[in-house]
């Protein structure tokens, strides 16, 4: 059992290789319940180099989350192609972990059980999975809480569990959909620091969707601004702040950070305003 798991793990890594993420001409349309066509994404071209941390910002409803589900293979594009590691995505993309805005922890499993899910689903023996999970629970600072159930934890602690559960499979791609959106400002800052620390150890390619431009700049190598719906890539900014970044609370006051923030916000603001006007007029964004 354990050796099958290890073999599978190696195969996944070899298959994905460097795990470059590429979207070429991706369009996604949905049929609304009313029967009309709704275009969420139009002609998205985007390349994320292996090991890069890419943040995606844009107004509400611009298809940021849809992009993530297509990279994960949970959804298909209506036109265009998504490929990971040079291979077109068809079916669930192997070597991926997804962190949702609402935490996707199983309420009937303990912290340890939830973190162990990745290896268990991968076919690891229970003992091995638990040993790995114990290690990851410790790494996210939750030692001693292994036997707690999710409802007994605070929002920040649940995020740590989600983070451990996402990283335990050593993904080559980490997809995050506003993972810290529901947290208070202090907890969010702590979690961001922790995410950076863990990411710098393993360096998976990351797509991090957020509303918060400061968060995006503090964390990412590359910030993608999307237009108001139908979403498409408006501009891509390279964030040349040196790594390791250190505390996200402090980097915000660096002159280069402010300069980048100023520049990107100018671009993002137009889209946010466009989206706002549209919603205010009652149109679908």
């Amino acid at each position: 059992m354990a050796s099958t798991f290890a073999r599978r793990r190696r195969a996944v890594h070899a298959g994905i290789g460097a795990a470059q993420i590429e979207l070429a001409g991706v369009t996604k349309r949905f049929v609304t319940p009313a029967g009309s066509m709704f275009t969420a994404l139009r002609d998205v071209d985007l390349v994320i180099d292996p090991g890069r941390f890419c943040a995606v910002v844009g107004p509400t409803g611009c298809g940021k989350s849809t992009t993530l589900t297509m990279v994960a293979g949970l959804d298909r594009p209506s036109a265009g192609e998504v490929s990971v590691g040079g291979r077109a995505v068809d079916g669930i993309t192997p070597g991926t972990s997804f962190m949702f805005q609402v935490d996707a922890l199983l309420p009937w499993k303990t912290v340890l059980g939830n973190v162990a899910l990745g290896p268990v689903f991968g076919g690891a023996a229970k003992k091995e999975a638990q040993a790995q999970a114990r290690d990851w629970v410790r790494r996210v600072g939750l030692a001693g809480f292994e036997d707690h159930h999710p409802h007994q934890l605070s929002g920040g602690m649940r995020k740590r569990v989600s983070l451990a559960a996402a990283l335990i499979n050593e993904p080559s791609i980490l997809l995050m959909d506003e993972p810290f959106g529901a947290l208070d400002v202090q907890t969010k800052a702590i979690m961001s620091n922790e995410l950076l620390g863990l990411w710098e150890q393993a360096r998976p390619s990351v797509i991090f969707v957020t509303h918060d431009l400061e968060e995006a700049i503090a964390l990412a190598d590359q910030v993608v601004v999307m237009t108001a719906g139908p979403g498409t890539v408006k501009a891509v900014y390279d964030i040349d702040l040196p790594r390791p970044r250190g505390a996200v609370q402090e980097i915000r006051f660096e002159p280069r950070f402010l300069e980048l923030h100023h520049q990107i916000w100018a671009s993002l603001r137009e889209e946010v305003e466009a989206a706002y006007t549209r919603t205010a007029q009652g149109g679908r964004s």
Binding site: F98, L106, G118, F121, G122, H151
Partner: protein, 297 residues
């Protein structure tokens, strides 16, 4: 415990001590409330049973039709000492209980399996849904006649009827439970590489379990009804047969006595299901109602 109320010298230390009498006071009030509730319960019982006894003794109500509490007690006593026309009362209880439990087990198993299957395979659910609706609209208790003719006077006809009654309740809950599974949980499991079987085992079933267990309380009541009605329709032993015989002999006390025994059976089963529920769903946070109950206890 120092008495500090009214003292001008309240330090933080004495303040914590002063809180203790408050706690004791709250505890005393709570236990007084409990005694009151029990007293009122007892009074209700005395009024209902006593009133019944008095009204029948005073011949306001005819005990020939409506029975009498003292007659019911005498009937139970007689059954325990001398047995029924079909053997000892314990044999009758055991027979009905066995039929209900077997029907319950088969009905629950079938309901869960079919519910989970249809919940996961949309196409199958779409194809079968009108037939299931029709089957649910049929008064299934009538199937008892069919089972009695086809399967005879033995236990299998009663078990089948009980199982059919149980099946639909559990099936609908299991089906709904599977469909209500959080999409985020499913997607997360899929991205982590879970196979279809693993998703069913780790995500779908535990999630549907809340729904399934809620249906078990109703289901056991239905299993007992199935067993009793099956015995009405034709049997060689069982509490349903005892009731039917009492009815034919114009013996209302016998009907009530059997009813009383069945109620005890049902309450026992209910208690066991409650225990199971608490064990299987121990991961759940206490619901507001449960929390209030715990506070009142």
């Amino acid at each position: 415990m120092t008495e500090t109320t009214g003292s001008a010298l309240i330090s933080p230390h004495t303040e914590t001590q002063a809180a203790a009498p408050d706690v004791r006071h709250a505890k005393r009030r709570r236990s007084r409330h409990k005694v009151l509730v029990w007293a009122a319960r007892l009074a209700t019982l005395v009024v209902v049973i006593g009133g019944w006894q008095l009204l029948t003794s005073a011949k306001v109500v005819d005990k020939f039709f409506w029975g009498q509490p003292s007659g019911i007690v005498a009937q139970l006593d007689d059954w325990v000492r001398h047995g029924t026309a079909y053997g000892s009362i314990w044999l009758q209880i055991w027979t009905t209980f066995k039929e209900a439990v077997l029907g319950f087990v088969f009905g629950v198993a079938a309901g869960v399996i079919v519910g989970v299957l249809l919940g996961q395979f949309r196409f199958l659910a779409e194809v079968l849904s009108p037939y299931i609706k029709i089957a649910n609209a049929i008064p299934r208790i009538v199937l008892g006649s069919l089972f009695t003719v086809a399967l005879g006077l033995g236990i299998s006809a009663k078990v089948s009827l009980a199982a059919v009654l149980v099946f639909f309740v559990v099936f609908f809950n299991a089906f709904q439970g599977v469909r209500e599974v959080d999409r985020n949980l499913l997607n997360n499991a899929r991205v982590l590489g879970a196979s279809r079987g693993a998703i069913t085992r780790h995500v779908v079933l535990p999630s549907a379990l809340t729904w399934i267990i809620a249906s078990l309380h109703v289901a056991f009541g239905l299993a007992i009804i199935g067993a009793i009605v099956g015995e009405f329709l034709g049997a060689q032993r069982g509490l349903g047969l005892v009731i039917a015989t009492s009815q034919n002999n114009f013996n209302p006390d016998g009907v009530f006595a059997a009813m009383f025994i069945i109620a005890i059976l049902a309450l026992t089963a209910e208690g066991l299901i409650g225990l199971l529920e608490r064990r299987l769903l121990s991961w759940r946070p206490p619901s507001p109602a449960e929390a209030a109950e715990a506070a009142a206890a």
